[in-house]
C-alpha cells in the first residue's frame, strides 16, 4: 500500500476522465489506452486513500463493462467488500458479480465478510443481501443460511423482503435446506402485512415447488387467504400463477377459487392480471361454463385489440383450448387478427389451426389462408395447409374431388420452396393412392398446374436440390417447379390407362412445346417414360392414329438430348421399337406390363438377346432343387391368383357399399351445420369418393383401380 501525495492526486484520472477518453479514443489506440489504464488501476487499488481506491474500483468496473477481463482483481474486490468505508464496500459488492462466479476460490473469504456485514445497519445489510442474491453458490448458501433466516424476522420490511428473496435462491441451489426452515418462514409470512414481503414469499413458494412439488400442502391455506383479500395487482398476478401450479397438483383447490376468480375478472382493469386470469381459466376451468364464458369475452377483446402484444397473448391463451369446437367460437376473431399480425403471430395462428381444423371449418380455413398469404409468411402457410390437408390420412377432407381440382392447383401455384414442393409431391401421391378413382382427373390437374410452367422458362431459378442418379452417376439440379413437374408427369404416366384419347392428345400437345424439353432437362427420362406409356396405349386402341408420328418424333428428340448430355444408354429393345415398330413386339410388351411379372418368365427371355457365351438353359445356382421349388410355388400362386382377386373384389364391393351408406348418413346430419359456413358445396354430391385410411398402400397403380376402370369401359 502506498500513499499518494496531493500533487500526484491532481493527475489521477477519475471515472469521468476514463469514460471520456474511452469514448474519444479510436479503435486502434484502444488497446494501448486499456493497457495503460489497467496498469494505473493496479497501482491505485493498493493505495491507502479510500477515495483513490474507490475511483480505481469504479474505473475497473467500467473496463469490465467494456468487455475487458478483470478476474485478476478478484482478491482485491473481495478485500474491498470488507472495507470500513461504505462507499468502497458498495462499489465492490456491485462489481462482485463481474469477477466472482460459482466456481471462484475467493468465495470462501466472502463468507466471513458477509457474516460481519449482516450485523451492521439496515442499509449495509440490504446491499449485502443484494450481492448475495447474485453470487450465491452451494457452500456460501449453506454457511450463510442461519444468518439469512434470522434476517427474515428483522423489523425493517426492506431487509425481510430481500432475505426472503435470497432464501428462494438458497433453497433452489440446495433443496436439502428446505425441511425445517420452510415451515418457520411460512409461519412468519402468515402474520406478515407488507405487500412486498408477501410477494417475495409467494416467489419463494414458486421456487420451492419447482424443486420439491410435494410440499404444496404447506402453501394452500396461505395462498387462498391472500387471494381472497389482496388488492395489489402485482401480488395477485403472483398468486394466480402459483394457484395454477397448486391446481395441477390438487384439483379440489379449483372449486375454492371460482368465486374469487369471478370477482377479480369482473373488477380488474389491469391487462396483465386479466391475461393471467384468462390463461388460468382457459387451462383449468373449462368445466365451469359461466366463468369460462366471461373469460372468453375478455379473450375476444384481446384478440381484437390494436396492441399487437395483447393479440399475441390472446393467441397464447387459445393454445390451451383442447377442442376444435372451442376454437370455432373464436375463429372469426383469430382470422381477423391474422390480417394485422406480424410474422411470429402468424406462425402462432397457423399452429393453432394445424391442431384444431376439422371437417366443418376445413374449407373456410383453406380458402382464407390461400387468400391472405404474403411473401414473408407464404412458405409457412403452404407448409401448414399441406399439413392440415394430410393430417391423420386426410381426416378433414370430405370432398376429395374438390380438393384435387380446386385447391391443389392454387396451392401448387403458390409454392416457392423445395421443402414445400416435396411435401406437395407427397400430398399428391397419398391422395391419389388413397382415393380410388381420382386418377381420372390427373390430366385436368396437370393442365391447370403445368400450363403456367410452359409459359415461364425459369427452370433453374431459386434454390435447387442437387441429386446424383444412382445407376448413371448423373448429377442434376431440381428447383421447386421441376419437382412438381416431375411428380405430375409421373402421376399422368401411372394414369394413362384411365385417360381418354382426347386427354392424351392434350398432353402430347403440351409436351410438344419446345420450352418444356429445354427447360426441364432433368425430367427428360420421366417425360420419356410417360411418352412410352402413351405410345403403347394409343397403338393398342388405334394403331393408325395421327398422334403416333408426333409421339415418335418427341421420343427421338428426347433420345438425342439424353444421348448428347449424358452417358445414358437406351436399351436395345427401345431403339428397335422406334426403328422397326413391329406389332408383335408391342403386343407382347403390352402383355408383359398388363399383369404382375412372375420372377421367372421364359417368354420374356426370348425377347431379350442373351450375352454371348451365356447358356440360359444352365442354372447359375448350385442347388437346382431350389430353383424347381421356386418355379412350382410360383405356378401355384399364378393358378390361385384369379380366385384370390375375385374374393378381394367381392370384399371391396361390400366395404364400398357400407362406406357409401355411412357417408350419406353423415352428409344428412352435417348438412345444416355446413350451410352457413359453406354455401358453395352442392347439397347433393354427384360422385362419392372414399378415402382409404386403413393401411399404408404401396405406391403405383392399385390392381382394383384397373379392374374397375376396365369394367367402366
Amino acid at each position: 500500500m502506498f500513499h499518494l501525495s496531493q500533487m500526484d492526486q491532481i493527475f489521477l484520472k477519475s471515472l469521468a476522465d476514463v469514460v471520456r477518453t474511452s469514448r474519444t479514443t479510436s479503435q486502434y489506440d484502444k488497446l494501448t489506452f486499456t493497457t495503460q489504464t489497467i496498469a494505473d488501476i493496479k497501482n491505485e487499488i493498493q493505495s491507502r486513500q479510500e477515495s483513490v481506491r474507490y475511483q480505481a474500483l469504479l474505473k475497473l468496473f467500467f473496463l469490465a463493462m467494456e468487455g475487458n477481463n478483470i478476474r485478476w482483481a478478484e482478491f482485491q474486490i473481495i478485500n474491498l467488500m470488507g472495507s470500513g468505508d461504505f462507499q468502497l464496500k458498495l462499489g465492490a459488492q456491485l462489481a462482485a458479480h463481474l469477477v466472482i462466479d460459482t466456481q471462484s476460490q475467493g468465495l470462501i473469504m466472502v463468507t466471513n465478510v458477509f457474516q460481519k456485514e449482516f450485523k451492521n445497519g439496515h442499509v449495509e445489510c440490504s446491499a449485502t443481501l443484494s450481492c448475495l442474491g447474485t453470487i450465491a453458490n452451494k457452500d456460501l448458501s449453506d454457511s450463510l443460511l442461519p444468518h439469512v433466516l434470522k434476517l427474515t424476522t428483522n423489523t425493517k420490511p426492506l431487509i425481510r423482503k430481500k432475505a426472503i428473496a435470497v432464501l428462494s435462491k438458497i433453497f433452489t441451489i440446495n433443496p436439502l435446506n428446505i425441511p425445517g426452515n420452510l415451515e418457520m418462514v411460512i409461519q412468519q409470512l402468515q402474520k406478515e402485512t407488507n405487500i412486498s414481503v408477501l410477494a417475495c414469499g409467494i416467489s419463494l413458494f414458486c421456487s420451492v415447488m419447482k424443486v420439491a412439488p410435494k410440499l404444496y400442502p404447506l402453501f394452500l391455506s396461505i395462498v387462498y387467504d391472500q387471494i381472497s383479500k389482496q388488492k395489489s395487482n402485482w401480488l395477485l398476478i403472483k398468486l394466480v400463477r402459483i394457484s395454477n401450479k397448486l391446481i395441477s397438483l390438487e384439483p379440489r383447490f379449483q372449486g375454492k377459487l371460482i368465486e374469487h376468480y369471478t370477482r377479480l375478472l369482473n373488477q380488474t382493469n389491469s391487462k396483465s392480471l386479466q391475461y393471467e386470469l384468462i390463461y388460468s381459466i382457459m387451462k383449468y376451468f373449462k368445466n365451469h361454463s359461466q366463468l369460462y364464458e366471461s373469460a372468453g369475452d375478455i379473450l375476444k377483446q384481446f384478440l381484437n385489440h390494436q396492441d399487437p402484444n395483447l393479440r399475441c397473448l390472446g393467441l397464447e391463451c387459445l393454445t390451451h383450448i383442447s377442442s376444435s369446437a372451442g376454437l370455432m367460437e373464436f375463429q372469426e376473431q383469430i382470422l381477423e387478427s391474422f390480417k394485422k399480425s406480424d410474422y411470429f403471430s402468424k406462425l402462432q395462428i397457423l399452429q393453432l389451426f394445424k391442431d384444431f381444423t376439422n371437417q366443418q371449418n376445413f374449407q373456410t380455413v383453406i380458402e382464407f389462408f390461400i387468400k391472405y398469404s404474403d411473401l414473408e409468411s407464404n412458405h409457412k402457410i403452404i407448409e401448414s395447409l399441406i399439413f392440415i390437408i394430410m393430417k391423420d390420412k386426410f381426416i378433414n377432407v370430405d370432398d376429395p374431388e374438390k380438393l384435387l381440382l380446386m385447391y391443389i392447383p392454387v396451392i401448387a401455384q403458390k409454392i416457392d420452396t423445395i421443402d414445400n414442393a416435396i411435401r406437395f409431391k407427397e400430398l399428391l401421391f397419398e391422395l391419389l393412392t388413397r382415393v380410388p378413382g381420382l386418377k381420372v382427373y390427373s390430366d385436368q390437374l396437370c393442365n391447370q398446374i403445368l400450363q403456367t410452367y410452359a409459359i415461364q422458362s425459369d427452370s433453374l431459378q431459386g434454390p435447387t436440390l442437387n441429386i446424383v442418379q444412382r445407376h448413371t452417376q448423373l448429377k442434376y439440379s431440381l428447383n421447386h417447379r421441376e419437382i412438381i413437374f416431375k411428380s405430375l408427369i409421373m402421376i399422368v404416366g401411372e394414369s394413362v390407362k384411365l385417360l381418354k384419347l382426347e386427354a392424351l392428345t392434350n398432353i402430347i400437345k403440351f409436351l410438344e412445346q419446345l420450352n418444356i424439353l429445354n427447360c426441364y432437362e432433368s425430367s427428360l427420362s420421366d417425360i420419356d417414360s410417360l411418352l412410352f406409356k402413351i405410345y403403347i396405349q394409343i397403338i393398342k386402341t388405334d394403331p393408325s392414329n395421327d398422334l403416333i408420328p408426333q409421339i415418335e418424333q418427341l421420343i427421338k428428340n428426347i433420345y438425342i438430348k439424353l444421348h448428347n448430355i449424358s452417358i445414358v444408354k437406351i436399351s436395345f429393345f427401345y431403339e428397335s421399337l422406334i426403328l422397326n415398330k413391329t406389332k408383335d413386339q408391342l403386343d407382347q410388351l403390352y402383355n408383359l406390363y398388363a399383369e404382375d411379372l412372375p420372377p421367372i418368365n421364359l417368354e420374356a427371355q426370348k425377347l431379350i438377346k442373351p450375352p454371348e457365351g451365356l447358356d440360359i438353359t444352365q442354372s447359375f445356382q448350385i442347388d437346382i432343387e431350389e430353383i424347381e421349388k421356386i418355379k412350382n410355388s410360383n405356378n401355384d400362386q399364378l393358378e390361385q391368383k384369379p380366385i384370390i382377386q375375385q374374393l378381394q373384389q367381392i370384399e371391396s364391393n361390400q366395404t364400398e357399399q357400407e362406406d357409401q351408406n355411412t357417408l350419406i348418413q353423415k352428409q344428412e346430419e352435417n348438412e345444416e351445420e355446413l350451410k352457413p359456413l359453406n354455401s358453395k358445396i352442392d347439397p347433393i354430391p354427384k360422385k362419392v369418393f372414399t378415402i382409404n385410411r386403413d393401411e399404408e398402400l404401396p405406391p403405383g397403380i392399385n390392381q382394383n383401380d384397373i379392374n374397375k376402370s376396365k369394367e367402366e369401359e
Binding site: V19, A199, S203, W234, N309, D342, F344
Partner: protein
C-alpha cells in the same frame, strides 16, 4: 425468474448488464450479440416479446436504448414490460430527465437501482417511492 437484463444502444454497445444466472465470459458476449441482433431489426408493429432459445426476451425501446429482459417461459410478459417502464421512470426521477450519458457516467447508481427492484432474479419492489427512498438512503451513507 429473470435470467439477465441488458441495456444496449442501437449500435449494440451494452451500457448495463446484470446476470442472475451463471454464464461464462464468452457466453455473455455471445448472448449480448445475439439479443441485439434479434431486437434491433424489429418494427414497432411487432410484439415486444419473442422466443429466445428455451426462454423469452421481453424488450422495450426508449429513444436510442433497448431494455431487454430474458425470462422463463412461464413469466407474465406484461408484468415484465411494466417493470421495464418502472425502471425507466425511477431513472428519470432520480437523474431528472435521464439520458444515455447519465447511465454511462453513473452506471454504479443505475446498478444500485436494479438491486432495489430485483434480487436473485425475482422482483422484490414495484413502488417507485420506496425504491427511490432506498437509493437515497444509500447515498446518505456514501
Amino acid at each position: 425468474m429473470i435470467r439477465f437484463i441488458l441495456l444496449q444502444n442501437r449500435q449494440g454497445k451494452t451500457r448495463l448488464s446484470k446476470w442472475y444466472v451463471y454464464y461464462d465470459d464468452a457466453e455473455k458476449v455471445k448472448l449480448q450479440n445475439e439479443v441485439h441482433r434479434l431486437i434491433v431489426c424489429r418494427d414497432t408493429k411487432h410484439t415486444n416479446f419473442l422466443e429466445f432459445r428455451n426462454y423469452k426476451i421481453i424488450y422495450k425501446r426508449y429513444a436510442g436504448l433497448f431494455f431487454a429482459l430474458c425470462v422463463d417461459v412461464s413469466d407474465n410478459e406484461l408484468t415484465m414490460l411494466e417493470l421495464i417502464h418502472l425502471y425507466v421512470e425511477v431513472l428519470d426521477k432520480y437523474f431528472g430527465n435521464v439520458c444515455e450519458l447519465d447511465i454511462v457516467f453513473n452506471f454504479n447508481k443505475a446498478y444500485s437501482i436494479f438491486d432495489e427492484m430485483i434480487v436473485g432474479g425475482e422482483i422484490i419492489e414495484t413502488s417507485k417511492q420506496v425504491i427511490i427512498n432506498a437509493v437515497k438512503n444509500i447515498e446518505l451513507l456514501d
